[in-house]
Point group: C2
Chain length 390, copies 2
Amino acid sequence: MPTKNDKSYFSSNFTLGILGGGQLGKMMLYETRKFDIKTKVLDASDEAPCKIACNDFVKGDLMDYDTVIKFAEDVDVLTIEIENVNVDALEQLENKGKTVYPPTKALRTIQNKATQKLFYVDNGIPTADFSRFAYKSEIKDSIENGGLQFPFIWKAARFGYDGQGVKVVRKAEDLENLPSGECIAEKMIDFKNELAVIVCRSASGEVKTYPVVEMEFHPEANQVEYVICPARIDDKVAQKAQEVALKVSEKMKHVGLLAVELFQTKDDEILVNEVAPRPHNSGHYSIEASYTNQFEQHIRAILDLPLGDTQSKVAGIMVNLVGAEGHTGDVEYQNMRDILGLKGVTPHIYGKKQTRPFRKMGHVTIVNPDIAKAREIAQRVKETIKVISK
Amino acid sequence: MPTKNDKSYFSSNFTLGILGGGQLGKMMLYETRKFDIKTKVLDASDEAPCKIACNDFVKGDLMDYDTVIKFAEDVDVLTIEIENVNVDALEQLENKGKTVYPPTKALRTIQNKATQKLFYVDNGIPTADFSRFAYKSEIKDSIENGGLQFPFIWKAARFGYDGQGVKVVRKAEDLENLPSGECIAEKMIDFKNELAVIVCRSASGEVKTYPVVEMEFHPEANQVEYVICPARIDDKVAQKAQEVALKVSEKMKHVGLLAVELFQTKDDEILVNEVAPRPHNSGHYSIEASYTNQFEQHIRAILDLPLGDTQSKVAGIMVNLVGAEGHTGDVEYQNMRDILGLKGVTPHIYGKKQTRPFRKMGHVTIVNPDIAKAREIAQRVKETIKVISK
């Protein structure tokens, strides 16, 4: 644990290690650059968006124990921008006194969706009913002996990302092309809204929550299409959502950013869907809309600096830029000029060279004092820009 | 001149060249990274703040003709983050069809403060009366034969930066330690306020102005201490300031950002002090306060993209972090933690390893819906943080 002396961060002797060099890391690096904090990034790809803006880039496998141990040798604080990392290595580093945030215990709980769901149950945190299966084959048995009814949500216990590893199962055939490993079958929730709350907690326990955001998902891709801040919901519901999110963060003894995805049911109950222990797609709007964006906040939290203001300056809506269906190959952004001509529009291009259907290639933030105006412009952005292959 | 096809910018085939790798370039690179625009930077120092975030860094002398010509060979658009570059090389590149913004003609006019002043006179732009001298010795003659009276402002015609090359001359002795080269003697203006207006003009002629900002200078260092947006002045005066700034930009046929520093006289006349053809210290507040910050705006303008919204989301005040007097050596930022605990405070640390008295080491932006609150907090920031040597 570094000393609270400013010098420990704002000096050339301090290095922050980041596991993962994708878009979340890239946006985190804007903040480390702003604070002039030295960074070292580990990623398997030479084309990782983080590669050029970090002080030290190491190419290597995030899931390889020795690679992670070796990478961390000379870093003062270690964090992640993706959950799929070797948590045994992190635990070993933590046991040896290295500062690792999120804490490995929380990361272990989150990495496995079955474990995550059990955690909610054990801690009295509302979540959708589910069954856990060691193998997909067990699902069939459970259906046959009446233990499980269609429809339900199948979720792979591990390595789900960008909506992969999640599928609505309405009939037996839907199970056919799914991986056979550990998974859960979750009751389908008849919800009014999908919401998210980002909670930040610093090493010394200061806690703040961002406003509740409202998410609109792409029907097939199960990816967020719009993130709307603030959510257009009743204050009571918003307050309940924040209370539930805070409880998750507290029970997990989390440090850093925790993005809590929630369902608002038809009868205004709040259920936890899943969480991410890092800056999150549902918080990208904060770069343009919030007093302190989620990436700076994550840095403040894990370096045990005072947390920044989580309120918004203006309403913000985020549109994900995902690869168009039927396009795979060298990426091309169509009609970028047109969206740059719209009021309050900021595109973020992650710098991935190859596009494929539904791959997250970037996002666009629309800010406006009037949320209804922002929503109109967001719609136009969505309909105008296309991410295709050359 | 690149085609207006989006692909010309938002593709890996396009490279933006930047002359200078200092803090302005560093902040410009946040925006090129955001848009995933490839960059190549030229700077004389291996410790240039830009070095790690650009795609290609070249170490070399900005004032060397051949170095600049060679650097520009493979860039599509060339811009600057500092005026002190070899303008003959830029002119040669421009003549050969390279896209260079700011236009070299404007840059040549601005580079030499005597030429700059004559430009204002020739174009009917209000500015303080002045005399031009080829050598400092001519000033003495002019005083002796009564052509020039004390007090006046001495300005070196070239290479002034960060308040260097400017001095108030009240008596003959004040001239003694000044360089002997080309200079101007400017009438001291009895002003109410120092103001600034940033004008952005795109290659195809779209023009926008940022709100008028109000500047408070450090008495000795002649460096800006606070930049306050919006300026707390009468609307009529603000409108006049913007009109004068627009006229300068138009007459210079400028492309990119032009920061116009102005005096508001006791009788509410607006006089042009000087201009900078690039993002400017007086626009740093825009990163946190504006819909489109000045660095993104400069990129939009020189790439001939639609200009963004120049309005503010909230009031913004900037405090320069300059090296404390009596401190030279490895920099240390004191009480950073304390200012991070204040509402709406964002420090920007430029990453210069060595501090010296009055050197610009960073800046802090304070944003707040209430400008009076922002001013209070700015004062506390100013009184709390210290830039010293270890």
